[in-house]
Symmetry: C2
C-alpha cells in the first residue's frame, strides 16, 4: 500500500495531493503498467481519509488516462509504453526584461501624438455608462463587421468631415490599419483569382513530397515611393509583389503607374506619407480614370492623418469623388485619439463588399464591444469633434513654435509639408548624410527620424524630383513639450552648425 | 464678377461657402479651364468681405488643385479635362436594419455564456484606475506582441491552472482566436516553405498577363472530425488543405493521422470540441511522438473551454508534457469572461517564435492597451480566479438542473460529455433526423443546435464510432435562466414525445 505524505496545512486539496503522488509513481515507473491499485475503500481506511477523497483522486487519474477501471476487478495502471520518457520541461515563467532604447532628452518623433490630451474624463464617463448590468448584451459576440451603431456613427463622421460617400453596410471595423490591410489583401486576392476557397484543389505537377503547391495569383500592388513601409511589409507578407512608383509634385506619377502590370495602387492623396504632398484634383481624376480602365483595378486610399490641417479645411477624400466604386477608403483613430485605441475602419466598394460578405465575414470582430460602444458615444455625443478642435489647436501652436525656432537655421534648411500632419519635412543643405545628421543629434541626446527609411530598399536615389536627394528629417512635434521645442532646436543647431552650408 | 449668395446665419464659415461656390462653378464648366479669376482684392471689395476670407477660399482651391496661381498674373482655373465628368454619388448614410433572427422563448445555445455574471464592478473599477492622467504611457502604441505585464500574468495563470510551461517571451496576445489563427497560419506557412518575404521573386513560367503566380507550399492541416468549424474555415481561407481525421474513444485516430501527408494537426485534447472527449495520457504521448518524428511537425492545442470542469480538477494541457517544443497552445478569455472582450493568447514553441520575431513581429498589436491593463490587473488582483469560481458554480448548478430535468426523456436519449464545458451532448433514439428535431423544436420556440454542422462537409457518416450517427443535439445551458431550463425541457419533451423510441 502507498505511503503518501499528506500536507494537511497545504492549500492544495487532499485529493489532489493523492492524485499527484500516484501520477508521479506511474510516470517514474514505480507503479508499472498493469499494476493493480488498492481499492478506494481500502486506501481510504489505510490513509484515514474519507472514501470520497480517494474516489476523486482516482476519478482524476481515470479522466487523464493514467489508470483504467476494469469492472468487478478494480483499478489498473494503463499500458502507456512511452510514459517513462516523459520529461516535463521545468521552465518557469520569468518576465524577460525588454531592451530599452536609451532615453533621449528631446524626441522629435513624427509618429507620436500628444498623449497629455487624451480625453480621460469623457472616456471614463462613457466607459462607466456601459459597465452596468443593463448592458449585458454588449458582452456577447457582436456583428463580425463591427456594431451597426458604431459603423453608422463613423459613416456620418466620414461623410461630413471627409466627404466620403458610403452606406453603413460598406464599413468594416477592425483592430487597427494593419489588421484591416491583412483582411483587405485576402479580399483582393480572392477578387483577382476567384479561388474557390472550399475547393482549392491542387493540380500543379510540381507537388513536393508532403507540401502542396497552391498557385495564388496574388498580383501586384503599386505604392508611392517613399511610402508607409508598414503597409509595404504587410503586402509583401501577404504574398504580393510590390512595385515602387516615383512621385512628382502632384503625387504618384501616372506615367510610371500606367506602364506597370499592377491592378492595385496604394495612395495617401490628402497628405502624402511621408512627403506631405496634396494630390490635386487633376491627378485624382487621372488616377480614377486609370482605375476605371479595367474591372479588376482598385485604389487603396489610406487617409492616415487628414484630421490635422492647419490652413483651410481638410482636403476632401478621393473616395468622395469616385463614382465608379473603385476606391477602398481606410482610416483609424490612432492619430486623432491615440494609437492604443485599436479601432480602424475600412470602406469597401460594393463588389469587394460582396466578396467580403460571402467569404470573409466569418472572421470574428477584432474590437471589444465595450470599446466600440465607447467610441460610438464619443462620436455621437460631439466629444470627438471637440477633441479634434482641441488637439488641432495644440498641434497648431507647437507647429508654429517649431517653424519660428527653425529660423535659426536660415537657408541651411528648407521646410516642406507645413500645412498639415504632425511633423515638418526638413531638407538640409549640408555635406552630411542623413545618417550622419541623425547620429550627431543622437550624441546630443536628440532623437531624429530620417526620410530614407520610407523608401523602398535601394531606390532612395531613383526619385526623379529628388536627385540628388538632400538629407531629410521628418521633424515631429506632437509629443514634444512646448518648452522643449525651443531648447531642442537650439541644441540641434549648435550640434550641426559647423557642418551646414548657407547658414546665417 | 461672381454673384455668390453668402448665408451669414450658416454655421459654414464664409470662406468655405465661397470655396464651395467657385468649386462647383469649375466642376459644372461655368468656369472653364484657363479662365481667369478675379483678384482677391477686387473680389473682397465686390463681396464686401475681408480680403483674408477670399485668400482662404482661394488657398483651399489651390490646395485641392482646382485653380493655379501664376506669379505676377493671377489665379486661373486648372486644365482639368476630365472635370466635367465628375458625377459625385449622392449616397447618404442610411443605417441598414440587420435582419433579426426570430426570437426564441428558449435558446439552448452551446456557444453562449452567462452574461449576467460579467464582473461589472471590478471591471469598472480597474478601468477607472487607468483612466487618469498619470497613465499617459498606455495610450501610446505598446509592444506588438502584447504588453509584457499582461503576458507575464497570463503565463503564470497558464502555468498554475493548465500546467503550461513557457516564458513570457513565448506568449503572443491577439484580438481573439480567429486573429491568432490567421497569424499562426502565416508563421507555419513560412516555417514550411522558408519563403524569403523580402525576395519572393517569381520564376514560374505560367505567369499570366498581369497576374503573378506565387508558389506557396501551404501544406496540409489535419483536424479532428467533428471539429471547431471556425478554425477549419480560417485554415481553408489561408490557403491550407485540411484533412478530416475521425475520432475514436480516445480522441483523434492515430492510425488515420499517421497515414496522411500532414505536418500540422489541430486538436482540442482537454475537452474535444464538440464531442467532449478527454484525450487520455496514452494518446497524448502517441500524438507527441508523431510530432517528434519530423522537424516540421506541430500540434495546435486549442484549449477552448478547459476552465469549466465540474468533476475533479482541470485536465492539464498537452503543452505541459511536451518536452520537444512541438505544441502551439491557444486560448482566449471568451468563455471564461465574455466573448466581447477580444483577448486571446498563443504560446509559440521556440522555433516558431523565432520566425514570428523575425518576420511577423512588425504587425501592430490588435488589443487596446487599456484593455490589456485591465485584464492584467484582473488576473493579478485575484479577481479572475474568483470570477471563475463563481461562474463554475453557476454553470454546475445549471448543468445539474439540466441533467435532472432531462430524466423525463428516459432511454430515449443518451447524455455524453457531462463533466465539462457549457453544454451536454444529447443522442436521440428516434427515427427523426437531426434537422427534423431542430425544426420541430423551432416551431415550439425552442432553439436547438445540432452536431452535424461540426462535421466536415459530406463526412457525417464516415466516423467509424458513430455509424449510423444518431441525431445529436449540443444542448447548451450557460445562458438559460434556471427557471427556463425546467420549462424549456418539458416543452421540448412534449413536442418530441410521440416521435421518440424507448420512452418511459
Amino acid at each position: 500500500m502507498f505511503t503518501i505524505n499528506i500536507d494537511s496545512s497545504s492549500s492544495v486539496p487532499m485529493y489532489e495531493q493523492i492524485y499527484e503522488y500516484i501520477k508521479n509513481e506511474i510516470k517514474s515507473g514505480q507503479l508499472p503498467p498493469k499494476a493493480k491499485l488498492p481499492s478506494t475503500r481500502s486506501l481510504a481506511i489505510h490513509m484515514q481519509v474519507s472514501r470520497n477523497t480517494i474516489d476523486m483522486a482516482y476519478a482524476q487519474l481515470l479522466s487523464e488516462g493514467y489508470i483504467e477501471s476494469i469492472p468487478k476487478s478494480g483499478y489498473y495502471v494503463s499500458m502507456v509504453s512511452e510514459l517513462t520518457h516523459i520529461a516535463v520541461k521545468k521552465t518557469t515563467v520569468i518576465p524577460v526584461k525588454s531592451k530599452k532604447e536609451p532615453a533621449y532628452q528631446y524626441d522629435f518623433s513624427p509618429y507620436a501624438i500628444d498623449i497629455n490630451s487624451f480625453p480621460y474624463n469623457i472616456w471614463r464617463k462613457l466607459s462607466n455608462t456601459f459597465m452596468n448590468n443593463n448592458n449585458n448584451d454588449i458582452f456577447l459576440l457582436g456583428n463580425n463587421q463591427g456594431d451597426e451603431g458604431l459603423r453608422a456613427a463613423i459613416g456620418r463622421y466620414l461623410h461630413e468631415s471627409r466627404g466620403v460617400n458610403c452606406t453603413t453596410e460598406q464599413i468594416i471595423i477592425g483592430a487597427g490599419a494593419d489588421y484591416l490591410l491583412q483582411l483587405l489583401t485576402q479580399i483582393l486576392q480572392y477578387s483577382s483569382t476567384n479561388i474557390n476557397i472550399n475547393n482549392n484543389s491542387v493540380t500543379d505537377e510540381n507537388v513536393h513530397s508532403n507540401k502542396e503547391c497552391v498557385n495564388i495569383f496574388s498580383g501586384n500592388i503599386a505604392m508611392e515611393n517613399p511610402t508607409y513601409m508598414q503597409a509595404y511589409k504587410i503586402f509583401k507578407t501577404m504574398h504580393y509583389e510590390v512595385t515602387p512608383i516615383p512621385l512628382d509634385s502632384s503625387g504618384i506619377s501616372m506615367d510610371h503607374l500606367s506602364k506597370i502590370d499592377s491592378n492595385i495602387v496604394y495612395v495617401t492623396p490628402s497628405h502624402q506619407y511621408p512627403l506631405g504632398i496634396v494630390m490635386p484634383i487633376k491627378r485624382r481624376l487621372e488616377l480614377l480614370q486609370w482605375a476605371n480602365s479595367s474591372p479588376d483595378r482598385y485604389i487603396i486610399e489610406d487617409d492616415h492623418d487628414s484630421e490635422f490641417r492647419y490652413k483651410g479645411k481638410p482636403i476632401p477624400s478621393l473616395q468622395g469623388i469616385d463614382s465608379s466604386s473603385k476606391v477602398i477608403y481606410l482610416g483609424t483613430f490612432s492619430r486623432a485619439i491615440a494609437p492604443a485605441i485599436r479601432i480602424g475602419y475600412m470602406v469597401l466598394p460594393e463588389k469587394l463588399l460582396e466578396i467580403y460578405k460571402k467569404n470573409f465575414n466569418f472572421y470574428s470582430s477584432t474590437v471589444s464591444r465595450v470599446d466600440q460602444n465607447i467610441m460610438k458615444s464619443f462620436i455621437e455625443g460631439g466629444y470627438f469633434e471637440r477633441h479634434l478642435n482641441k488637439t488641432r489647436k495644440i498641434y497648431k501652436n507647437k507647429h508654429d513654435l517649431l517653424i519660428q525656432n527653425l529660423k535659426i537655421f536660415g537657408d541651411a534648411i528648407r521646410i516642406e509639408g507645413e500645412n498639415a500632419g504632425l511633423y515638418l519635412i526638413i531638407r538640409f543643405n549640408t555635406q552630411l548624410t542623413e545618417k550622419e545628421i541623425i547620429d550627431l543629434a543622437a550624441k546630443g541626446s536628440i532623437k531624429l527620424y530620417g526620410l530614407n527609411e520610407h523608401y523602398f530598399p535601394d531606390t532612395e536615389s531613383e526619385n526623379p524630383t529628388l536627385s540628388p536627394l538632400p538629407p531629410t528629417i521628418l521633424l515631429g512635434y506632437a509629443n514634444v513639450p512646448e518648452e522643449d521645442i525651443k531648447k531642442g532646436i537650439e541644441k540641434l543647431y549648435c550640434i550641426l552648425r559647423a557642418k551646414l552650408g548657407n547658414t546665417k
